[in-house]
């Protein structure tokens, strides 16, 4: 029956199931959440006004932006250091670097957050060790605060920051670096004035990915912040499940999506999607 199935119909038949599935299971309920933000508890823009006036919401927004900014700077810098070796090291160095990047990448966020609890808590590895050598008498508070959250999130996000950087470093032409060295530039100077500027697109892509991810982070701040360093995502969870205020939770979600959407638009003005893989 060749020819009966036209190209257009074939495409439609093959693509329809997934599109239908996502319209019903994702787009439609998202509109439902948007509706919540305008109708619960009373119809109107009350929830959005609350976002602008509520001190708690404001402080959580500011804390989220601050943590996201710190995490972005630290993660991209750390990722840069290990990516240089992963892309340009000797075969043995590359293998070790790859292992150190990919193993954490594939391990679940819960296990990794738990590892940090085991290291940082009052009876954890670091405090036990510091006390046993007599360096401190009282345990340091390393977790259940912003420090713990930043450490855990940085650890989670470094592998994600690595991939755009690696792609930028791989496409870099070695001859330019050799030329700089040949013209008498020192190692350091070549690195800072030639290598780093030439990987600029990777740095921008990596920073925006890490920043966007940090904004919606839930698990790590909830575990390592211990309820004291609440970020936007945890606030949404608390508004839905603890002090049932679905309207406010929904309104925060809508604002978060719009903000992330704007950042993504910015990302794709500077970087083509292919450069991120």
């Amino acid at each position: 029956m060749r020819g009966v199935l036209s190209d257009r119909m074939g495409a439609a038949l093959l693509m329809a199931p997934l599109l239908l599935f996502l319209v019903l299971a994702y787009a439609w309920p998202f509109l439902g959440v948007v509706k919540w933000s305008f109708t619960l508890p009373t119809p109107g823009l009350g929830q959005y006004q609350a976002l602008l006036t509520d001190d708690l919401v404001q402080s959580v927004f500011i804390r989220t932006l601050r943590i996201a900014a710190i995490v972005t700077v630290v993660s991209v810098a750390a990722a840069y250091a290990i990516t240089v070796v992963w892309v340009r090291g000797s075969p043995a160095q590359r293998l070790v670097a790859e292992f150190c990047i990919l193993v954490p990448f594939w391990i679940s966020v819960l296990t990794r957050a738990f590892g940090w609890v085991a290291l940082l808590s009052n009876r954890g590895l670091i405090n036990t060790w510091l006390q046993s050598i007599g360096f401190i008498s009282e345990p340091l508070t390393l977790v259940r605060n912003e420090f713990g959250v930043v450490v855990g999130m940085t650890h989670f996000l470094i592998p994600f920051a690595v991939f755009p950087l690696a792609s930028a470093m791989r496409s870099l032409d070695d001859r330019v670096l050799l030329a700089a060295r040949g013209l008498g530039s020192s190692r350091m100077r070549t690195f800072w004035t030639v290598f780093v500027p030439m990987t600029r697109s990777g740095i921008i892509g990596s920073a925006l990915i890490v920043f966007v991810f940090s904004l919606g982070f839930f698990v790590t701040p909830a575990i390592l912040g211990g309820g004291r360093s609440v970020m936007i995502a945890e606030l949404i969870y608390l508004r839905i499940f603890q002090s049932p205020d679905w309207g406010l939770g929904a309104a925060i979600s809508v604002v978060l999506v719009l903000f992330v959407g704007a950042l993504m638009a910015l990302l794709f003005r500077y970087v083509r999607p292919k450069q991120l893989i």
């Binding site: 599935f21 738990f114 085991a118 190692r187 919606g216």
Partner: protein, 268 residues
Amino acid sequence: MPTYRPGPVSLILAALVALFLLMPLLAVIPVSLTPSRMLAMPTGELSLRHYRSLIEDPRWLQSILLSIRIGVVSSAISTVLALCFSLGVWMFQPRFTAALVGFVLLPMVVPPVVSAITLYFLLTSISGFSSFFGYDTWLGVAMAHSVMTVPFATVLILVSLSQLDRRIDLAARGLGATVWERATRVIMPNIKFGIVTAALLSFVLSWEEIGVTLFITSVNAITLPRLMWMGLRDNIDPAIAALSVILIIITVLVLAVRSVVTRQHAGH
């Protein structure tokens, strides 16, 4: 071969980052061997009691089985949907492809917490009609996980399709193959590897999923990450350390095998 190698300063900095990345994974090992009931470093004597409690406590086993069931079902759904969609895109190159693919990728780029509240809305709405398919049911969780994993499966399959030579499909078409024959006997055998990878990745993502699962389960559909979460929030159960050690060992083994296999492929 890059001729420009990292110098000693780069190597030291990279080593520090590598140490930072591995530290929390190594830290769970001593904790898993503690004889204490609470999270603590072992002092002197070591014990395997937390490994034993993983086997003896039925809650862990139930959660593991539930997570496997949800992972298999959601991976099957998302792989099949992603495969059909990607075949449609590749074979027919319809108009608005970029917009349609962008739409499919949304659950991957939207902050997970927003997807979570969205799926919470969906499943609580369904619960109004059906008691075995909605909020806090395993089928509901499997469907929600499919939504979250289908963009990843689609990306992987589209990438492997993009490396396929169009001329073999043109040849099949020229020889009179139907759309079905082209898809199943020409294209799919050539992207087998991509399809299997997509299914495996979907399974792993579902197996680890916690952000969305927290929103859509309460007492019945307790997946493994959900059970770990409960043990982490209240007072910390060292059995989680034992479980973490096992999961880390599995991950390292799988990555090692994969690395050996790719090396052999590259060698031939």
